[in-house]
Symmetry: C2
Subunit: 299 residues, 2 copies
Amino acid sequence: MSDILVIGTVALDTIETPFGRVEKALGGSAAYSSFAASFFANPAVISVVGHDFPEEYMGLLKKRGIDLGGVQISDKTFHWEGFYEYDMNEAKTKKTELNSLAGFKIKVPEKHKDVKYAFLGNIDPDLQLDALSQLKNPEFVVLDTMNFWISSKKDSLLKAIGMANVLLLNDGEARQLFKTASLVKAANDALKLGPGAVIIKKGEHGALLFTKEKHFSAPSYPLENIKDPTGCGDSFGGGFIGYLAKTGNLNEANFRKAIIYGSVLASYNAEDFSLNRLKSITMDDIEKRYNEFRDIREF
Amino acid sequence: MSDILVIGTVALDTIETPFGRVEKALGGSAAYSSFAASFFANPAVISVVGHDFPEEYMGLLKKRGIDLGGVQISDKTFHWEGFYEYDMNEAKTKKTELNSLAGFKIKVPEKHKDVKYAFLGNIDPDLQLDALSQLKNPEFVVLDTMNFWISSKKDSLLKAIGMANVLLLNDGEARQLFKTASLVKAANDALKLGPGAVIIKKGEHGALLFTKEKHFSAPSYPLENIKDPTGCGDSFGGGFIGYLAKTGNLNEANFRKAIIYGSVLASYNAEDFSLNRLKSITMDDIEKRYNEFRDIREF
């Protein structure tokens, strides 16, 4: 029985970084986040792929116990082609072929409608809203997004944010959405829209958690080589909601632990292309790095 | 008796930020860092000012017990004019009038030559080297610098770094000096030059400590309004060495505490122009915010 419903993209990614290149590798917000969540809980994915989607990739997700019954198949798989320059801060898009994503309509299978945890990964906010409307009474909704939706579908995005318990976004997006240079102001503005917590992902600078009363700053893990940052935000989100679903405790103190687990997953993910690193780690690796995070912030 | 010797500039700063403007306000690396250090220890300053330097500013430093016997007086005071734009990340220089700083020769008074703690604040690295050569056997040398010296006096700077126990620099400077996008690599390269520890100051993203064996990440304090970031790096450095001189413990665990005290001083400093905020705080304020830092990083 699945305990987290993940809505997002499953993609084929062609990516070049200063450290290599992959062609039509497994990617997409739902792929990364469900895979990361699967270390802690039992995610089910709502998404779409094409007839060209490799069986091997399906197998990789299934092997982790991820329920793929909600993944529709039509046309060709969404394909993103991009690259990173030397500073690895920002993905530059070369080509986006929406393919089957263009006509995608959310259809939540009956058996997932009373799910408790929903992860609305990066995808069109109208699809996020549509997914939410099909759920009976989700107890805990985490919403992730990206700059593209802030500029192209702001109204829908604001509506979706208003229905989420936790908003995830990165620092550039927070500044863009709330038109301020101050992340503290952006977070306070975000909290006014409805979510009880806002998490700002800052890549190599860690992550910040804001609630009305408290503030938490998570360090980042000191990686000497970041091979490919694609999917780090999604892995973070998946690790975050996965740990919360596993522990069933939704207070601020547990959010902090969940953020560190999310950071652990994101840091491993950056060490290789696609899901190559995540598919080789174990719970022991995760706990080991979690303890390293403890030492990194101790004073 | 002074226990920390601070070498650096004492300046008149004319600064504009989105939150206001000050004209010929007290500034300079030695002013900020000695003031911050004075909460913990007894700094003495080696610097130069002009005959125009206001008695009121001298009085402000003296009142904190800072020994100004090593401050020479000649010509006019070094004057920096700059501004910050909306994102407050980088000071833009409008005018630099070196004045008395142009012909400044370091003369360490006899009574300070056997000082144990030396803080080489941001100033020409040849002056930092000259100061070091006049000290008998300093036990602990902290060196700060800035981008200007990395581009104009790299050889002298590298030599000075080789003689320091701790190198302080900000993230942009670390990337510039070691020609890498990775702060981890930059820090490892810096450690090879000689210092036992490297601290990378990241402004709103906190600070990182690297030694050969360990890594520490300090959070930043969530300020909603940063009025003027001028002197935050110097206040950080002063608080850092001040706490170490007070406690006399130079191990990595105590460096971590000293970094948090430095961060506390820097965060207060950003709340107002010049030394206006620092001159109004007490040890109680410092301890209160230190404890808030504990809570910010707890998980």
